[in-house]
């Protein structure tokens, strides 16, 4: 539809006896309708006065299309006039039984198989080249792009010593805790320094944590760590709760870990809470087992 406006200057009316608000429409040429022609083009020519009192010609061109109702056959049109019956007959206008979805639904094409394989093959290095991407590789569980090493849910489960020894320092990474390689000037806690008695304390702690770590799966999206704490602390002293959060979307990934001080408490929690209905989902609570090394 196009509207083209042409202004035609006309001499101002100086009829003193007329009020400003008076309708001057009778001075204008009548409205003209031309068409619709064989292409469905219809032209309407109208005249009116604008705010300054100038005469304006408005030409409106529109395309006339046959309405969809033309598809309905005679019987269907007749059925349209049938009176409503049942509950529909005395339905109040505000009942809103029929609504148009506010959400645009698309026919979601399934991803081609080739594209999917490529996606998973994409490693950290190629992510680094992309703008805005960070190379995030957990050194404990070797998972890429999910969490930092310091936030790894498995960090207590990993074999302690070799993690720091046989991996070369990755200086380029922006991980929070950089591996204390030899020659690095960063601070190294005494217990981890070379020559320190590693078996004295650290690994014992880890051993114990490993055994008392409980995995909770099938959590609802909005469960957070304080919620888990509240759920588990009645069973005994809890040293740590962790809920896996998707880094990209910020929503929970549906699982978490709870560490207990004593094994008995953990066992009681498992017995009690496995199969427990929490937030409309049924929890699965079990001993956390270390992931098989890749």
């Amino acid at each position: 539809m196009t509207i083209d406006t042409q202004q035609q200057k006309t001499s101002k009316f100086r009829w003193g006896e007329m009020d400003e608000d008076d309708d001057l429409d009778f001075l204008l040429p009548p409205k003209q309708v031309i068409g619709p022609d064989e292409n469905g083009l219809k032209t309407v020519v109208e005249y009116k006065f604008n705010d300054e009192g100038n005469r304006v010609k408005i030409t409106t061109k529109s395309r006339v299309r046959k309405l969809a109702s033309a598809r309905l056959n005679k019987r269907a049109i007749e059925r349209r006039s049938w009176p409503k019956f049942g509950e529909a007959a005395n339905e109040d206008a505000g009942s809103h039984l029929t609504m148009v979805s506010t959400e645009e639904i698309v026919l979601e094409r399934p991803k081609a198989l080739g594209a999917k394989a490529e996606d998973t093959k994409e490693d950290g290095l190629s992510q680094l080249t992309k703008p805005g991407a960070v190379l995030m590789v957990c050194r404990t569980c070797r998972k890429k792009g999910d969490h930092w090493t310091s936030k790894c849910p498995y960090k207590d489960l990993a074999a302690p010593a070799d993690v720091f020894e046989d991996k070369p320092p990755t200086g380029e990474t922006s991980t929070a805790s950089v591996a204390p390689g030899p020659g690095k000037s960063s601070y190294v806690p005494p217990s981890m320094r070379h020559g320190a008695d590693k078996n004295a304390m650290g690994s014992d702690m880890r051993r114990r944590n490993d055994e008392n770590s409980v995995r909770v799966t099938n959590l609802s999206e909005d469960t957070r760590e304080p919620d888990l704490m509240e759920l588990f602390h009645p069973f005994g002293a809890v040293t740590r709760v962790y809920v896996a959060i998707d880094q990209k979307t910020g929503v929970s990934r549906g699982f978490g870990f709870v560490n207990f001080v004593s094994r008995e408490d953990a066992q009681r929690a498992i017995n009690k809470l496995n199969g427990y209905g929490y937030d409309n989902l049924i929890l699965r609570v079990e001993w956390a087992t270390p992931r098989p090394t890749q």
Partner: protein, 328 residues
């Protein structure tokens, strides 16, 4: 596309059916009132009051004047579509699961569930032109060979010569509609491995598609009962439909309704999945329901389809123009 949401039912949908002209849509649900909607804008036109149980199935006559419904209240009822009045009620000793008008609307096939001592059976009824003359006697009763297993769907074959049935015993059967003789059974090797939930005919009665809880849908020749195609879906299939316009089939389903609350909502896969009929490849999925899809129907013009879910909604989708140009 922006689907039209119709919230006329308070319980899960069970069946959807368009009339031949494609201007009306009938919906059945586990509440007791089948409902008639305009198929273009989704406006409710009427409700059919009279059933006293879940309504499992319906069919509309070719002239769109008669409706037949089968219900768990152990009756199948004939209705006047114009007024919504009940014309006749067939009484059975067990729930009526599926109904189907024959070509010409002179006959109807009704299946009944196994119930107490009664076994599952297929009943053929003569439909009188004048509802005054209607009698409840069956022309033919076909008892199911495995009577304890429910027959979920029975439809008329080409030219009313046969009846095709399928159900919990996973076997598709072709019966002679005149004599009641069992003519063919589907091959157990290639057939479904779990309950057949739905059966839908092509517009020309040459082939039909079945959906099953074994997470597949299969396309069969209607005369020879040979397996033509298999469509693999990741979830149990509750409803199937074929596009009358394009070579597309659409499957609806999702995990069992009883398992919905025990798992994450993303695991449900409550989408209507489109497959290429010939290449058996998935074309796309239409999401939106909050529960399994129980019913699917294509408009006879192939330009819109509707789905009914466990969530009680009917969603009416008018396709965008790009749907008609999809290339695999």
């Amino acid at each position: 596309m922006r689907p039209i949401l119709m919230k006329g039912h308070e319980r899960p949908l069970t069946f959807l059916r368009y009339n031949r002209d494609g201007d009306m849509l009938f919906s059945c649900a586990k509440d007791h009132t089948p409902t008639l909607w305009y198929a273009d804008n989704g406006e409710r036109h009427g409700t059919f009051r009279g059933h006293n149980g879940a309504v499992w199935c319906c069919d509309v006559s070719r002239d769109s004047l008669r409706l037949i419904t089968g219900s768990a209240d152990q009756t199948a009822k004939l209705w006047d579509v114009k007024t919504g009045q009940q014309l006749f009620s067939f009484k059975f000793g067990s729930p009526a699961r599926s109904v189907d008008f024959a070509l010409g609307d002179k006959l109807a096939v009704i299946t009944t569930d196994p119930f107490m001592e009664r076994t599952s059976a297929i009943h053929v009824k003569r439909i009188a032109e004048d509802p005054e003359d209607q009698v409840s006697d069956s022309v033919l009763v076909l008892p199911s060979p495995d009577g304890k297993k429910r027959i979920n769907r029975a439809v008329w074959g080409p030219l009313n010569q046969t009846i095709v049935s399928g159900g919990e015993d996973t076997v598709l059967r072709i019966w002679d509609a005149e004599t009641g003789k069992l003519l063919k059974e589907s091959d157990a090797e290639v057939g479904h491995k779990n309950t057949i939930t739905s059966l839908s005919k092509a517009a020309d009665d040459s082939h039909f598609i079945t959906g099953s809880l074994d997470k597949t849908a299969k396309l069969w020749d209607m005369r020879t009962l040979t397996l033509l195609k298999t469509y693999v879906s990741g979830v149990p299939v509750n409803a199937v439909s074929m596009s009358p316009l394009l070579d597309h089939v659409v499957l609806g389903g999702g995990q069992d309704a009883s398992a919905v609350t025990t798992t994450d909502h993303r695991a449900g896969k409550f989408e209507a999945k489109f497959y290429d009929k010939i290449l058996q490849e998935e074309i796309g999925g239409v999401k939106g329901h909050f529960g399994p899809i129980n019913a699917l129907a294509f408009n006879p013009d192939g330009k819109s389809f509707s789905s009914g879910g466990e969530d009680g909604y009917v969603r009416l989708h008018h396709f965008d123009s790009d749907y008609f140009n999809i290339r695999i």
